[in-house]
């Protein structure tokens, strides 16, 4: 349980950090909360020669509303997200998800940026971001660029971030009236990665018609997955039990879970259907409240 030795760098600006990334290339890893990286290093699954600790870069930790966008700084700790009044008001889904991430000590250190940049389909924020149609802001040598969440997750542990880019902010469109969101995952014990997890974000009009819908799935696919067919089954339709059942069925068909210690593929597909149904109901309740 001892990591290989590394050289430690602690840039004070994003520019400095990017320069270091350019200098060290693949031999470097960014350290934010450390709760994904350090265990991998200790088990010697990863042995970077350089650690670039971005925690000293000021101005990367915030939650704010600006120009119709909710903006969350990449270094914002999970614990801050868990207890943010602004998020509780607009996006109760963050309350759902953060309290299911690992445990309180991890949430005191772990950051939302790290959770996303790790590119792990078992992490919980990716599904939420898919449901919320978030945009990821990355800073690189040529300045900032905005990456739509649907273009962010590539393969296994891979994201659209280039080796010399740093994830700096997450932007989420602030929702209009009649919107609700919810997240839940099944876990074998508290703090576990999801057996299956589902994030739902929807808007209902007066006629109970679904005018916006986002559904993201956790740990039932090699990459974080948007349940696109499920969304289509609900978008512009009245939120009936039949429509919900159809959406649940599509999600369970379209994901691609693998059998493992958490259960068989069949079980996970069934759980996706159950959770899609339950989270749609919960989000709808919140939308109506």
């Amino acid at each position: 349980m001892i990591a290989q030795s590394f050289q430690y760098e602690s840039p004070r600006t994003i520019k400095e950090a990017i320069e270091l990334l350019q200098k060290y290339g693949d031999d470097a890893k960014i350290l934010s909360g450390g709760h994904s990286l350090i265990p991998m290093m200790k088990l010697r699954f990863a042995s970077p020669e350089y650690i670039i600790d971005i925690n000293r870069i000021p101005g990367l930790s915030y939650i704010k509303e600006e120009g119709g966008m909710l903006k969350i700084g990449a270094l914002t700790r999970e614990a801050e997200i868990e207890h943010s009044d602004l998020l509780k008001k607009h996006f109760p889904i963050f309350g759902d998800v953060t309290k299911l991430i690992a445990d309180p000590q991890v949430r005191n250190m772990g950051t939302i940026g790290g959770n996303l940049a790790h590119g792990d389909a078992a992490n919980d924020h990716p599904a939420v971001m898919l449901a919320l149609n978030a945009t990821v802001i990355a800073a690189g040598p040529d300045g900032e660029r905005a990456i739509p969440i649907d273009e962010f997750f590539f393969g296994f542990y891979q994201t659209a971030l280039q080796p010399d880019e740093i994830l700096t902010e997450i932007q989420i469109p602030v929702s209009q009236h009649g919107t609700g969101s919810a997240y839940h995952k099944l876990e074998r014990k508290v703090g576990d990665y999801a057996t299956a997890g589902v994030a739902v974000h929807l808007t209902l009009d007066k006629n109970n018609t679904c005018t916006s819908i986002g559904i993201g799935l956790t740990n039932v696919n090699p990459t974080p997955l948007r349940a696109a067919r499920s969304e289509q089954a609900l978008f512009g339709k009245e939120l009936t039990e039949e429509a919900i059942a159809e959406a649940a069925k599509y999600a369970s068909e379209d994901c691609s879970p693998s059998s493992d210690l958490r259960g068989s593929e069949e079980y996970k597909r069934a759980m996706v259907a159950v959770l899609v149904k339950r989270m749609i109901h919960k989000a709808a309740e919140r939308a109506k409240a």
């Binding site: 349980m1 014990k189 508290v190 057996t195 210690l261 259960g263 068989s264 069934a270």
Partner: protein, 788 residues
């Protein structure tokens, strides 16, 4: 219910005295083995096999030796020169210390790296290059029993199969006859899976060999320091480490649960290296090594049958066991009992016919199995009998509580001889179950369940009414490596009336420093606060077999009581001398002798002790000390009645333990607060295997859950709100009527939980679930039955 004979100032038995050991634990001053640092100390790390079965073609340590700080790489070939490459197990099998040719399980020790720091040792470990020739391992114990299975222990001359031993007990002919003619026979196959004690402190040691004085001090996480000293002398006596040259010190232990009874290869390597280099060597496992390589527990495949009448009279039971021991039988059982005390499996029920048979087999898995919070295979036995009893009740359509009430051994029938020959000492099973049913509101719950079932909701109620067998044990049957399983106490009372007492046992959280003091306080009237308890140093403590199998109170606790009574007898003589009366004229009350009919004429124990050093009668030996080695006349038989209520989410299979009531009979209680804490902990270690824990291997012998990421130890969230209570039937043969309690809840609770889950699922024809019962398994069972 609990009556105290002593005042709170004395705090003898029955007082919830606050634990004496807590001050250091709460301030970070506990002293565990990894807290020991010695000058010049070296650190050891171990290279482990990635394969479950492979020939070692070469070990190349060249790169490792270049790592700064690395001083040596030790292989099996190096140990072979001193004949230290193999060691005996407690069950007279043999185990590699380091391999010379073949590795037999994944994570087996391959070679050791010695360095000047922990970090250098780990870097060195990464740099060792080992060339393996992998072979196809045998993982399934049933396949290992096949006639054409490869012979794993080819190191044993003439070994032609993987069979280790066969064991049987009971009357086969009579049992078969009852089964042949019985009205009802139920049969169930079950696997009690391989699990791990997973104490939060891993195993480790500091071996400190002093070349000049030819003396070894071994600081070590061991539950049985004295036995370890003897083992070291037996294994290393030929190189000069005879028993008087060895001191074993067991400091505070961060959880033992049976996992710190065995001698692991790491200990022996550390001793060998310290012996060779003349410097202290520290070896501390990391978490994965602990989970993957240390002795497992359980892993019994059991087929159990019960025969009875349609009216619900149990007539006979039959058990067939296949025990998977990994590549060597490294069980920590008493020598004569290769299935431990599994023969307690006849249960709490009054019938006279049973037959049990077991076979043990080698596989390419880690060796074991230890008695994890269990008096040697009692957990497996209780699970089998309590599950099959429920199956029987279900089969004949009788309420499982009523069926148990109808079949219990009656309290007036104790002592009672079991079909396998045990003499149950005492108990009142009817009172226990009645109390548990009242506490949980059994009849109301059954009504609620009926309502819920109409709505298709899944709720279950499960019972376990178990009998344990602990306190090993009487010398006529019980020994470990030939040493009888007595235990010991030595009490020294100082001139000022304060005392120190030393024991052959070793606490790992049971609170011995408090409870032993209370026993002595009870007998002598010296305040428990003034009695210092010491264990774990073989140079100072009397010889004993250690703490496991709930034996400390039944054996060492009894020894404390009897040693104290010897002192009380001496005190009576001194008091008679001081008061100038005859001994018969004296009356004892806790803390003083007074003259019958003249209570103003008295001597306190403190005055008497002072006199023992300053004014003792001529002809009497001075001082105030006593030692006793207690050889128990029988085992003790704690029992319990546990009831569990579960609610199950039909769609996901998620299980919620809504309530759990545990009524225990551990005889007389020394410290109610400590006992309740032990019960809480034991129950938590019962829900663990029932719902969460299992060591899982794939067909190549790779462990699939060798970290806390996947080996699911329950937390505060998973732990239900345990409700506890007691009935008390004192053990008639134990000096203070105590029976032992540490393990009852671990042993008794899993079947209550599983019985509740199966009860919830029973409307769909589900009659059994193997542990751990996970949401996935529940969902799968419901799916297979077409319920969802």
């Amino acid at each position: 219910m609990i009556q105290c004979k002593t005042s709170k100032a004395i705090s003898g038995m029955g007082h919830s005295m606050k634990r004496k050991e807590d001050a250091r634990f709460l301030q970070g001053k506990g002293h565990y083995v990894d807290d020991i640092k010695l000058p010049g100390m070296l650190y050891m790390d171990i290279v482990r096999s990635p394969y479950a079965y492979a020939k070692i073609k070469s070990i190349n340590s060249e790169e490792a030796m270049k790592v700064p700080g690395v001083v040596a790489v030790v292989t099996g070939r190096d140990l072979e020169k001193y004949n230290l490459h193999w060691m005996p197990t407690l069950m007279s099998d043999t185990q590699m210390v380091l391999p010379t040719d073949t590795v037999m399980y994944q994570a087996q020790e391959v070679c050791a790296v010695i360095a000047t720091s922990r970090y250098a040792a780990r870097d060195g470990r990464e740099a060792v290059r080992v060339e393996y020739e992998p072979m196809k391992p045998v993982i399934d114990p049933y396949k290992a029993m096949d006639a054409n299975a490869p012979v794993l222990r080819s190191d044993k001359e003439g070994k032609k199969d993987n069979h280790i031993w066969n064991w049987k007990v009971g009357n086969k002919e009579k049992t078969d006859k009852v089964f042949d003619t019985a009205e009802v026979v139920v049969k169930q196959h079950m696997h009690i899976p391989r699990i791990h004690v997973a104490s939060i402190e891993t195993c480790g040691c500091v071996a400190d060999y002093d070349k000049v004085n030819n003396h070894l001090t071994m600081y070590m996480t061991t539950q049985a320091p004295h036995a370890i000293r003897t083992v070291i002398a037996l294994v290393a006596g030929h190189v000069g480490l005879t028993e008087e040259k060895v001191r074993v010190v067991s400091p505070d232990i961060g959880g033992g649960f049976g996992g710190k009874v065995p001698v692991y290869p790491g200990y022996v390597i550390a001793i060998a290296v310290s012996f060779l280099v003349g410097k202290p060597v520290k070896w501390i496992e990391d978490r994965s090594e602990n989970l993957q390589a240390d002795s497992f527990a359980r892993d019994y495949h059991i087929t159990v049958e019960m025969a009875g009448t349609k009216a619900g009279k149990i007539q006979a039971t039959r058990f067939k066991v296949l025990a998977d021991h990994g590549y060597t039988d490294a069980s920590a059982n008493p020598s004569k009992f290769n299935t431990g005390l599994f023969s307690i499996a006849t249960g709490s029920y009054d019938y006279d016919t049973s037959y049990m048979e077991a076979d043990a087999v080698y596989t390419n898995k880690p060796p074991g199995g230890v008695a994890y919070r269990c008096s040697f295979r009692v957990t497996e036995a209780v699970h089998a009998i309590e599950r099959i009893t429920d199956r029987f009740a279900f089969e004949i359509g009788k309420d499982p509580a009523q069926l148990r009430m109808d079949n219990f051994i009656k309290k007036e029938d104790f002592p009672w001889k079991s079909p396998t020959g045990w003499i149950y000492d005492s108990g009142d099973y009817h009172a226990g179950l009645k109390k548990a049913m009242e506490a949980i509101g059994y009849d109301e719950l059954r009504k609620e369940q009926a309502e819920k079932r109409k709505k298709g909701e899944l709720m279950g109620i499960g019972i376990s009414t178990f009998t344990e067998i602990v306190g090993a044990g009487p010398s006529k049957d019980f020994d470990i490596l030939g040493i009888k399983m007595f235990d010991s106490a030595e009490i020294r009372v100082h001139p000022t009336g304060k005392a120190i007492a030393r024991f052959g046992t070793k606490s790992q959280g049971q609170g011995h420093e408090t409870t032993y003091a209370q026993i002595i306080a009870e007998e002598l009237g010296i305040p428990a606060e003034n009695i210092q308890i010491e264990e774990g140093d073989t140079d100072t403590a009397p010889y004993g077999l250690g703490t496991y199998a709930s034996r400390s109170t039944p054996t060492a606790g009894a020894a404390a009581s009897i040693a104290a009574r010897k002192l009380r007898d001496k005190a009576r003589k001194i008091a008679a001398y001081l008061l100038e009366v005859s001994e018969d004229d004296l009356e004892w009350e806790p803390g003083k002798f007074s003259v019958k009919g003249a209570p103003e004429k008295s001597k306190t124990i403190q005055e008497i002790v002072f006199a023992a050093y300053t004014n003792h009668p001529q002809g009497m030996e001075a001082g105030f000390e006593a030692t006793h080695y207690y050889d128990p006349p029988n085992l003790t038989f704690p029992s319990g009645a546990y009831i569990c209520v579960v609610d199950i989410d039909k769609e996901t299979g998620a299980i919620n333990v809504r309530r759990f009531v545990a009524i225990d009979d551990c005889g007389h209680i020394i410290n109610p607060m400590i006992v309740q804490g032990q019960v809480h902990g034991g129950l938590t270690q019962g829900i663990a295997p029932a719902m969460y824990e299992e060591l899982i291997y794939d067909e190549d012998g790779n462990i699939l859950n060798g970290t806390f990421m996947d080996y699911l130890v329950p937390t505060a969230v998973e732990s239900p709100h345990w409700e506890t209570g007691h009935v008390v039937t004192p053990s008639p043969h134990h000096p203070i009527g105590a029976k032992g309690v540490g393990e009852s809840p671990t042993v008794g609770s899993p079947p209550a939980i599983v019985n509740a889950i199966v009860d919830a699922l029973s409307p769909y024809g589900i009659t059994h679930m193997d542990i751990p019962v996970t949401p996935y398994k529940v969902w799968k069972a419901l799916k297979d039955k077409g319920a969802i």
